[in-house]
Symmetry: C2
Subunit: 133 residues, 2 copies
Amino acid sequence: MTTLLQRAEAAGLRMTGHRRLVAEVLEGGGHPDVETVHEAAARRDPGISIATVYRALNLFEEAGLVEKREFGDGRARWEDAAQDHHDHLIDVATGEVIEFTSPEIEELQRRIAESLGYELVDHRLELFGRRRR
Amino acid sequence: MTTLLQRAEAAGLRMTGHRRLVAEVLEGGGHPDVETVHEAAARRDPGISIATVYRALNLFEEAGLVEKREFGDGRARWEDAAQDHHDHLIDVATGEVIEFTSPEIEELQRRIAESLGYELVDHRLELFGRRRR
DNA sequence: GTACGTGCAAAGGCTTTGCAAATGC
DNA sequence: GCATTTGCAAAGCCTTTGCACGTAC
């Protein structure tokens, strides 16, 4: 299992201290927004600016190493793209994000796109739910 | 079949001339962004400001009459909520938005949420595709 | 030494908002 | 008349960017 850092180096990116920090934060998992990534990185190197975090995230995204998500609250969330593909369920009460996978849904989506005359290149699926008591 | 205007009145909203214009534009269908709604409304009454369009759309949304969509390009798109529920396929080459419905996917989503211990309250599904030749 | 990375502050894009004037009922 | 709506411009929020300075190799 390769780390984000290893994949970034394999992609030919120059991995400076700051970029390493951002990569390590993302490896911590979750779906942090930019500010959260910045705070976590700044805990280890207070010198890192938020502009650098933005630039690093965009750089990683262009290289296909991380994924940008929009959950509808106006700011982007980021996650390591190394993991298997998954979708998200957002707890409407707490904002908690739960990951899940469903080969069935993936296949159904592909078939729907096809029936409309399209080749599926990407998709976005978010469920919003309320925890059952 | 009720119009957006009729539903807005039924909801107790004061439907001024400007709000009527915004409602009529949305009834024209499609997935217009705010600027597009404003342009269309201003064609009929050049006096309407974009602030009023924003306020009308948010008002309608709070009343559950229209839906706000985010397709990842940074601006919101709006549509009349009267129609049957549907999802969207976005043509990655042209940005064209195609609506579709799939009871199978709806049901699958409900079951997935349930298996995670959640009651599904909403969802968002967008497919991104490339037209097949 | 040259290209690249970074901090800072300014600017950009979309959206909201404070305020005074206009409008609806 | 009085509350609500509206236009305008300013401000807010997230994100990007210009520029000068630092750093990597």
